[in-house]
């Protein structure tokens, strides 16, 4: 049995909406609205969803970059939900994040050597000389030429910048790495280079990935398990092949069928969802997906569906499955 590295229970992250004469909180953006998932050591869990699904917020809340509104985050058996930023600091060595935007995620006024070294400085790891050596070694690991350490981010291409981001995230030898859409801003021919690098590093360093993405083809290639999010909720979780071969939630089914396939010979039956994702300030009652669901029933409006484990490791939150 694999060891659980992270477990998240009923996690909520609401952002207040201010208004009224005295600027009081009049509503909340329910970005993450009660989700559960776990990640085993050494595996890749993908959080999949469209914009507004809350997947990015979920990733940042797990790292406590955002303070959760409710729920529990357990890291290696330890509840870290209530830790203050100061108490979190030593733990940050074990959990790192890599960002989507290769331009915005590197400080344009810092040479890349300093960018990669900064985590060592912050955590006071080793002597100054040793830190520089570690930086050199790390640059080689991610496929950057160490002699470029004096250069600034704008002198690198998008793919190289993402390598710098990986180097910064890995220099403290973390266990958990949150990958927040790490390749979606890259050119097609560069994406595969970064995917390969991430997979190679995972095997070599026994890393655990929380992979946040919307590109389902990449998710299928990268993940061990997949959790599908819709409007702040996880609607379905399963092993990779199980989810793609037997999607059970109507939203997952629609999502998978909407993905265009790079093969003109394949003609698939497509489920075209009607309408747009509702506002997370005022999500529909009951099941959040019911307003766009082709199978919506009266009960969906009244009651929120509970997560049901339909087969080992495959959980779905849908009234269609509980009705029988």
């Amino acid at each position: 049995m694999a060891t659980r590295l992270v477990e998240v229970q009923n996690l909520k992250k609401w952002f207040p909406v201010k208004g009224g004469v005295f600027s009081t909180t009049v509503a909340s953006v329910k970005a993450v609205d009660g989700i559960d998932f776990f990640i085993n050591q050494g595996e890749t869990l993908s959080l999949v969803g469209e914009s507004g699904s809350g997947k990015t917020t979920a990733g940042r809340t797990v790292l406590k970059l955002l303070q959760p509104t409710a729920g529990k985050i357990v890291y290696k058996g330890k509840d870290i939900t209530k830790l203050t930023p100061n108490q979190m600091r030593p733990l940050r060595r074990n959990m790192q994040i890599m960002f989507q935007d290769p331009y915005g995620s590197l400080n344009p006024r810092m040479p890349v050597g300093d960018i990669i070294q900064e985590p060592l400085d912050v955590h006071n790891v080793g002597l100054r000389r040793e830190r520089r050596k570690a930086v050199t070694a790390m640059m080689e690991t991610v496929g950057l030429r160490p002699e470029y350490e004096k250069r600034y981010p704008h002198e690198f291409s998008g793919g190289q910048r993402q390598r710098i981001g990986i180097a910064r995230a890995l220099i403290l030898n973390p266990e958990l790495l949150v990958l927040d859409e790490p390749i979606s801003a890259l050119d097609v021919s560069i994406q595969s280079q970064i995917i390969n690098l991430l997979q190679e590093l995972q095997q070599r360093l026994n890393l655990t990935y929380l992979f946040i993405a919307h590109d389902l083809a990449v998710v299928r290639h990268m993940s061990d398990r997949v959790a599908v999010m819709y409007l702040g909720k996880v609607v379905e979780t399963a092993e990779n092949d199980e989810l793609f071969d037997h999607p059970l939630h109507p939203y997952t089914q629609a999502l998978l069928s909407a993905v265009p396939v790079p093969d003109p010979e394949v003609k698939r039956e497509r489920i075209i969802l009607q309408g747009d994702v509702p506002s997370p300030v005022n999500p529909p009652s009951g099941c959040h997906f019911r307003t766009r669901c082709p199978y919506a029933m009266p009960v969906c409006k009244e009651q929120e569906p509970a997560a049901v484990e339909v087969s080992p490791g495959h959980t779905v939150s849908c009234h269609l499955l509980t009705k029988k």
């Binding site: 291409s157 097609v188 265009p260 003109p264």
Partner: protein, 328 residues
Amino acid sequence: MDNREVLVDVKNLRTFFYTEDGVVPAVDGLDLTIHRGEIVGLVGESGCGKSVTALSIMRLIPNPPGKIISGEIIFHGENLLKKSEEEMRLIRGDKISMIFQEPMTSLNPVFTVGDQISEAITLHQKTDEAEARKRTVEMLHLVGIPEPERRYRQYPHELSGGMRQRVMIAMALSSNPDLLISDEATTALDVTIQAQILDLMRGLQKKLGMAILIITHNLAVVAEMAETIAIAYAGKIVENASAREIFKSPRHPYTYGLLQSIPKFAERRTNEPLPAIEGMVPSPYHMPNGCRFNPRCPFATEKCRAEEPELVELTPGHLVRCFHPIEP
């Protein structure tokens, strides 16, 4: 092979940008043919010149710094590059329309969507205001916007991304163009919304019969939409064939590499690394000599480094710019 009438024929187009840091040959000898009622996909990575091609056809290259240096764009038998600005204006939005990547920033924030569509109608058709308004509501209905009467009075920021792109499409199709250029029109949208918009475009194409030039970096999108696909690399077309040929037997090493490198959605997971194309897109200021793909090409020879290959028809309808095309 294709007996349909040629609608647009781009020949040896060169569009350069003169920046402070040097000359950028964004489009450098590009050829492209679009037939009446055909959906053509123009695919490439950033910097390959695909958007500049679209703006060149529209004659919307900002000058300075950009300039169309040479070439011909034959549309309905006439060279668009020889047209006066006023003649060109009458073609834009009438015979050729265009939709863009960011539906939020592409709509004017201070006018209602109805005003913006009916402006397009009154510009090109002799209609009074009431007629234009009626036609706008029809168009909103046609592109699948519910409650068109109410939406008419709304501002762009009150609509969702998908709705805004529908508004853009309604505006572009309002005068029944012969050619619709879609520049990454679904890139910024979510998968399920992208599916809606692609579905809509396909449906409208069948109904109205216009040709569509789909510009995208997403091979899967053109696989679903296009009959003919042109692959661009560093300002030139490297391969041009029917969609089926491109995906079944790509002949250019770049096309081949690109197809290999994208993860396959329909295949079960393996732990094999993806066959990636090494290196990166060349800097526009320092184009490699010879074939522009040679520094990244596994099959490159001395000849590729010294000479630039021509675009040749290997089999009927299948054009490739390569000295060592991959055998099918």
